[in-house]
């Protein structure tokens, strides 16, 4: 294993951080736009993993042998799965409560999260038990100095990077992105400017869900085991990452997620108990010392 702070550990941390970042972005975007901690977001991640799992077996026969095409189709399925559940959740659970007290939405979010988890584990076709995730891409290992890098590390980092660049472009350069930023700054003014707020909110949920779905696929490939409750802890940690970076802030969520990923990997290498607890310790420290998060004061990038 070598030292706790080896290159290997940094890479593992970045890999975990990439997965957290994709989840955290959804949290932060939804929070930025409707001021709601979407507790069910971790479950979108789980749905993405199951959509990938299901579509792998569906497409495997169709595109036998061409693993690149297959991987792309599976990623698409995971993202569509995440986006659909996010759309439905917003439509049926959050939209009717939009102008009710905020705590009602928060409690509904807890209810939705519980519903998705238990409904999936209650369905006989899925069930509460672990399933091993298939190897969508053949694992290879590359030696780099004294570190062994699996090609999955590169794929995880690359997929996350591409999606994050895409999101940044979407938010900064497109009209829709401008509408998202406008709604997050001032909902009423945005409506007066003719922006269809509900459409923008719905779209934000779907983008967040798609990212969580992609994270579900990456997590399934990297830690090849999926189960209906797999979203709870990564969801919470990604939320903490979003808070660490300054909730509502997109670059903040990415930064927070990579810090969390690396901190957790280092701490786990030291002691697995500390690895589990470090997220909450970071959360409590951040909220006590700098409740706005690391980049919280920069308003320009808030969406």
């Amino acid at each position: 294993m070598g030292s706790i702070f080896s290159l290997q550990q940094i890479l593992n941390g970045l890999q975990l951080g990439s997965i957290y970042a994709l989840i955290a972005l959804g949290y932060t975007m939804v929070y930025g736009i409707v001021r709601l901690i979407n507790f069910a977001h971790g479950d979108f991640f789980m749905i993405g993993a199951y959509a990938a799992y299901g579509s792998f077996y569906m497409f495997n026969a169709l595109v036998a042998g061409r693993s690149g095409t297959l991987a792309f189709l599976v990623l698409l399925a995971a993202m569509i799965g995440g986006a659909s559940i996010a759309y439905l959740t917003n439509k049926f659970a959050y939209k009717p409560l939009r102008y009710k007290p905020k705590l009602s939405s928060l409690i509904t979010a807890i209810g939705v999260s519980m519903f998705i988890e238990y409904f999936f584990s209650a369905l006989p076709a899925i069930g509460p038990s672990y399933r091993s995730f298939p190897d969508i891409i053949v694992r290879k290992e590359i030696r780099l100095g004294n570190a062994v890098i699996s090609n999955l590390v590169i794929i995880d980092l690359a997929v996350a990077a591409i999606l994050m660049v895409g999101l940044t472009l979407l938010v900064r350069k497109t009209t829709l992105g401008k509408a998202m930023r406008a709604v997050s700054q001032d909902k009423d003014a945005a409506r007066l400017m003719g922006i269809d707020i509900e459409k923008v909110i719905s779209f934000t949920f779907m983008v967040g869900g798609a990212f969580a779905g992609a994270a579900g696929l990456l997590a399934g490939m990297t830690y090849p085991r999926i189960f209906p409750y797999m979203g709870i802890l990564p969801g919470l940690k990604a939320f903490i990452a979003a808070v660490l970076g300054g909730i509502g802030n997109i670059p903040g969520a990415m930064l927070g997620a990579y810090i969390m990923g690396i901190a957790e990997t280092f701490a786990s290498a030291y002691n697995s108990l500390i690895g589990e607890g470090i997220a909450f310790a970071i959360l409590i420290l951040v909220l006590l010392i700098r409740p706005r998060g690391l980049l919280g004061e920069k308003i320009a990038d808030k969406i």
């Binding site: 901690i37 509904t108 519980m114 409904f119 209650a122 006989p124 509460p128 808070v243 909450f280 909220l287």
Partner: protein, 330 residues
């Protein structure tokens, strides 16, 4: 204000006690039903104490079972590991009760500590921090080998009986009611209604928030201790996030800020939960289909969502039954 001459609530509870005892002695009520009544009463303590924090003071807490875990483990360790009490010895009752109170006091201290972050945090941030604290408490017990670690603390003597639990639930409701009806309680209510305005009229909001957490945690600790001595086990999974949510559902189903609502919901949902457990098992046996116990939680989750969507204020709203109220407020 006009103080009532007859303490109606005391009479109601005594009547309830007599009826249950008679039904049990005449074997109309079996041990299983009595056990569910006991559980309901423990949930009454948990729900009313959480209502003090969430409903009355308006501080959204998601880690209530963490306090219960502290109470359960502290009192369980005292009676089982340190004092090694035995149920057959009648002289053990007093040390048992003191152990339960000790569990409550330690839980109150933890609540006092957790109350502090609430000074700076509001709404959903506070919810996450209390959730985090609850999970940290649970993780700590999960890793202390002296109290069984992940196996849980086993072999706790079964001291909790109907009488003890009913008296504890009665005292909890009365104390919380009196607190709410006192000037302290009015101050807590004002924080819920408008914190800024409360501060401007000179209410020390910090003090009352911490007070709500401390009282709430004390009673949760008592409930945890009683639960551990009822089911003879203190196990980390008993006190997880989902369990805290179950208590949360109770106060929202009953009505935020209504003790009557919390009591009714604690009974209603505990019985519903057991009913669903039996019903689902019977259905699975009868049809031969693979219907798992998870459906119980599916129903619970849907219940929570539907309450929020269609009856936001819960069963009772903010109203209080005349049986529970002590004073008439103009």
């Amino acid at each position: 204000m006009n103080v009532r001459k007859l303490p109606r609530f005391l009479i109601a509870v005594v009547l309830f006690y007599i009826i249950v005892e008679i039904l049990y002695k005449t074997e109309i009520l079996n041990g299983y039903l009595l056990h569910i009544i006991n559980l309901s009463l423990i949930y009454v303590i948990l729900a009313t104490s959480l209502n003090l924090i969430n409903g009355i003071t308006g501080q959204f807490s998601l880690g209530h079972m963490g306090f219960a875990a502290v109470g359960a483990y502290v009192s369980g360790s005292l009676t089982t590991l340190i004092l090694k009490l035995s149920v057959t010895n009648p002289a053990s009752m007093l040390p048992f009760l003191l152990s339960i109170i000790a569990g409550g006091v330690v839980a109150a201290f933890v609540g006092f500590l957790i109350g502090f972050p609430s000074l700076r945090l509001k709404g959903d941030y506070l919810a996450i921090v209390t959730l985090g604290f609850g999970e940290i408490i649970r993780t700590i017990f999960n890793n202390i080998d002296a109290v069984g670690g992940p196996r849980g603390l086993l072999g706790i003597p079964k001291f909790s009986n109907f009488t003890v639990i009913l008296v504890a639930a009665f005292l909890t409701v009365v104390i919380i009611r009196n607190l709410i009806e006192s000037s302290h309680g009015r101050a807590m209510l004002s924080i819920r209604e408008n914190e800024l305005a409360a501060e401007l009229v000179g209410i020390n909001t910090t003090r009352y928030k911490v007070m709500a957490f401390t009282f709430g945690a004390f009673f949760a600790g008592i409930a945890g201790g009683l639960l551990a001595h009822l089911i003879q086990l203190a196990h980390p999974t008993q006190f997880g996030f989902i369990k805290s949510v179950e208590v949360l559902i109770m106060i929202y189903a009953g009505g935020v800020g209504s003790l009557t609502g919390s009591i009714l919901a604690a009974f209603g949902l505990t019985f519903l939960s057991e009913g669903l457990r039996l019903g689902i098992r019977a259905l699975a046996d009868a049809t031969g289909l693979p219907i798992g116990g998870e459906w119980r939680m599916v129903v619970y989750a849907l219940l929570l969502i539907f309450i929020m969507l269609f009856r936001n204020e819960g069963l009772m709203g903010m109203r209080e039954s005349r049986i529970i109220k002590n004073v008439e407020v103009d």
